[in-house]
Symmetry: D2
Subunit: 375 residues, 4 copies
């Protein structure tokens, strides 16, 4: 059969294949990539499974969740029971030689410990915080412990897809950005790079649904406590700050500080970042829009709203899309840039899959075409 | 090109195609079916578009919404703006000769008036109530006006997919069941048909998310009124009752009345029907499960939960799945059967697409494989 | 001063007092009752504090919460921080001789252990399940452990206020009913007592907000899991069943079984019970209404809706009111009775305070006049 | 009787009354103030009724709602049905000579028209926007029509209670601030007055529950549209801006512009304002806290959180409290001030009642002691 496949995919059949495609045959020519999911019992793990299970080029071979090992997936996530995937296991039970890629949805610290054990042959798409910061000292400062796999930091690329496509393609480890940095950097980087705004005076008021806090049991994410209420948290101290300062600083070529104030909003998914920026020189709302339009002209998941439409998390729920828009400020010399994503998709599992697509030669949108679920 | 297509699809290439498929080529051999959506500005219309737009065999050619004609879809449903579909139009503006199928998400009464205007060549998948009742007098009694297209009733089939597959395949008009009847009949019909339960003593306590009430502006579906609260409505008088009584009566071969009490629950999507039934003769919880298992052994979207797991709307949100389970009652000789669906998908647009698949020769699951969105 | 008080309250001043009252002086003549709250860190404890703190006849002297001892109340419940109440303590730290009444919001089992330690001089309003069941064997069967304070059962009265006023007045321990039994029994008892319905064929489909599950950390009450979804739980096995069967059985003077199926609804507060009943003999919807009207003609918190209005949890949120209405069923010889309460108020802390009022000679509505919070 | 009352309230009985009070008699000596509510079918009207109905010094004599005239209150607001208040009427049906005070919950424009018709003897507590702006041209500019009652502007006082107590006491018309300005000005005015912050560089990111949009039927406040989603609205163009600029400008004694960006959050009640401010000179987080502490040392409803606790709308829901806290910013020379209120209470009906108390000589907290409803 393999010989027949060679025959078909090359030489005289190439023309035929083009005809087939033109006539409505879709090619999914790659043999499937064998994937494992580390942290399959958390929300990012679940959303990765939800998306990857329908990706034509992925075969999910192992679901790893230490504390749930031995349980069927349907027990941990009933909505995924229809998939018939293998039961949850420990990492030790996995035959890693047969795995091409590991998606990692573990908490920080645990993530790099588990990733460090994997054979070099396994590529890693990490949704944790462990490989986002290039400076291990910064990691220690913000995450409260020494980084235990500093030797791997050199193999890691910051996985903000739209800004690091080329590096991602060849990386062994892709560190997907935090959910907040994804939305904020998508909105800010083109403006900083093109010197449209003061990189050292960015104020971000962010609002997130409660899945951003993960599935761990906490009083403040109980329905009765988080519902019908809203409050800021981690003011001036949220762990996504060093990522923001690393990336914005690099784009501006200077050391910067960012005001980042997250709020917990009574919704499961969704993240909205309202960025208050000081315009540079003769920058205007229009020139900011230009910068964003140029930056994302080939980005299939970035929707720039230029007709006065306002980004809303409802408009991207369950999808990999990011909506961005620029608005005039009443304060002179300032503007407001708003970005909305689904924190579990573009902010985590979706972007992970987008990066996977680049790493393994698939179309960037493969497995990610699902439209937002509204209402 | 058409000649080449013929050549490829027949004769010596048949073997080749089988190889291709075995090797990972997916066939989508049909040229696309041209579709129009009537009622494109409502929730069922939007969900139909959400699903149909990604169906490999459908091309959406016209979006019809009288009162929004001239507007871009993104204005009415920003989450669908990425699709680049044509602007909304009136039915009169559509070239119906070029349309193969019309999905109708109009309100009752308007629906049959608009459908009656379509050429015979257009097949219709109707999500309204207008062609569900075989008896026009019953229609008048419950919907408060004479049926204006009784001549078309003979062309219509009740589109409860799992129970009417053969009729649906050849029908011109498929009348998709109401959301409640979908869940209830899927749970009850196999039990009634196999004489496991008393068809005339069924009590259904149903709970629905607010999208069941549509997008029309009503005080009781405002966030501030429907949120954080729950109440029954339309007690003993809901318009889904005659459908239930028609179908259960037919399955039981007797005239029946059903206690159907719907409740409005503070969620956007989802429908849970708790059915309290009297067992017949020597029926047991196990024999009820047997009846359901036999009925749905080849039904890709029906999930029978037999291990004590409990159906929940969270487990099917945004998907075409239906979860059903049977439980023992404390009252002797009785049982409780619970069914959960997403009212807009399996209860409306998803089932419509499932019926479309049967009508046009696609796999029943085409375009409907999306997994539930949880959380 | 005490002598002056005697003088004023008796003899020649009696007339004067009557004038004062007629002229707008309100008498709150009792010196304040010293209260302690056991379980002050749970939701029922918090709601009890919320209400009792404004009761003119109560002085909250001690807040007991073992695992939070030493913390200020504002730490555990920021919304109660304005009260300036004493910090949380252990039961051992309380000078029980100075306490007149203990409100107990502890979980079952813990409750009776703590109550058993209190001096006889302390009256107890218990919101736990521990003194609701008169038969300790039934307790053991449903709550999974022997009752450790059976000697106190004789001092306990079932605290369904509207049905046990006289006993409550003189009881040392009042066992407030569970939230579900409160709503269900208020709706059913008058009908059973007057032989309007078949006491052995009651089917109750109940829906509750998530506070019904308490403040303990559970995965299914996380916002992301409970939100936007609905499902039954504890089918045929909920611990409120024996209470229902005890009280309905006693009213009917026979042993009964009840079908009670609770559902978890995506709201914080509120409980709606839809009761499906079989009419006896020549009972009708009207005669059921008569029975309820007679039973509650002097009950300040029971609202019978007789004009077709439908009970809704929104209408009673945060208040001690209970809405009840009777509706015709399509099935002959049956009716539907719907009751709505706030599970934390009438279903727990409010009813506790109502019982307290009876026990200590206050007006039944004292401290409970707050209107529902809508929206 | 009136003579007896005179006798009792004066002369030799004064001492007796003091004893009575010391002994637990509460005096409610004022005869009741006759109140009318204009706009009784809206949310602010309803919340005013909810609170005023339990105020010992108020008798609600008329409920005015033009389009609902003739209906019982229970029809429009079932949760208020227990009050037994008079049916809704038109303003023309009211005997205004017997009314002491009118609470006005009408929309802007309609409000001043209706208020202009009232006799001078009626004091007005207006919750609309019509008398907030001292400059009628600013009104026209923002509200899109000429002000039709400019002659009354001189009688009106801006009703931000904590800052205008003295004027409010003697005013005929008190214009209660908008919900957003209430929270923002309570947080900002003391800082501006004491020159702690740059009055011309205030950036406010505000989040409100959907009741802020009123009860009018709008698509974006439907449960299915507003639920589980978040977005900004009215960016740079919200009608509360001129109020903010009027009051902050006056406090700073300069013309200022304010960046005010409101967001619609998926909750019914609650408003959280996150204010990003530039510190002046040697101002610090501590000096800001000092300014607020001094300003509100006698304000019963202002809760300054100084221990790192974070304001949350859950903590004030349903109550008249306002939580304020100051936090350090990562950006040098800046700080973050957060304020939380219930938009319908402190942001509207509660503050109205607080102003009423001042105007009619009641204790400022009368009728407003209800604690927050949490969860």
């Amino acid at each position: 059969m393999a010989a027949a496949r060679q025959l078909i995919l090359s030489g005289p059949f190439a023309y035929l294949i083009r005809i087939f495609k033109a006539e409505g045959f879709t090619m999914a020519s790659k043999s499937k990539i064998a994937a494992a999911v580390l942290g399959a019992s958390g929300y990012t793990g679940a959303d990765l499974i939800r998306l990857a299970a329908l990706h034509p080029g992925i075969e999910i071979k192992a679901l790893i969740a230490k504390s749930h090992a031995g349980q069927p997936l349907a027990k941990v996530f009933p909505h995924l029971g229809v998939l018939g995937l293998p039961d949850l296991v420990t990492s030790e039970e996995v035959d890693w030689e047969g795995i091409d890629v590991a998606f990692c949805g573990l908490p920080h610290a645990t993530a790099h410990q588990e990733i460090a054990k994997l054979p070099e042959s396994v590529k890693v798409v990490d949704m944790s915080a462990d490989f986002r910061l290039r400076d291990p000292d910064t990691y220690t400062q913000w995450y409260g412990g020494a980084h235990g796999a500093t030797d791997l930091l050199g193999q890691a690329v910051y996985g903000l897809t739209e800004h690091y496509r080329d590096c991602i393609k060849d990386a062994r480890i892709v560190a997907c950005p935090g959910c907040y940095p994804t939305a904020i950097l998508l909105a800010m980087l083109p403006l900083v790079k093109r010197k449209q705004i003061d990189a050292g005076a960015i104020i971000v008021d962010a609002k997130s649904g409660v899945t951003g806090a993960g599935r761990a049991l906490k009083q403040n994410t109980l329905f009765a406590e988080a519902g019908e209420g809203l409050s800021p948290y981690g003011i001036g101290a949220h762990r996504h700050i060093p990522e923001l300062e690393q990336e914005i600083g690099q784009a501006a070529d200077e050391t910067v500080r960012v005001n980042f104030t997250p709020h917990l909003a009574p919704m499961a998914r969704g993240e909205l970042c309202t960025c208050y920026v000081a315009l540079k020189d003769d920058a205007t709302v229009d020139s900011l829009r230009d910068a964003l339009r140029d930056a994302y002209k080939d980005a299939p998941f970035i929707q720039l709203l230029e007709d006065g439409s306002i980004p809303a998390t409802q408009n991207v729920r369950g999808s990999n899309y990011c909506q961005i828009a620029v608005f005039a400020d009443r304060l002179e010399g300032r503007a407001i840039v708003v970005a909305a994503i689904d924190n579990l998709v573009k902010g985590s599992a979706g972007q992970a899959l987008q990066n996977f697509n680049l790493m393994f030669g698939f179309d960037e949108t493969e497995g990610l075409k699902q439209l937002p679920l509204f209402p």
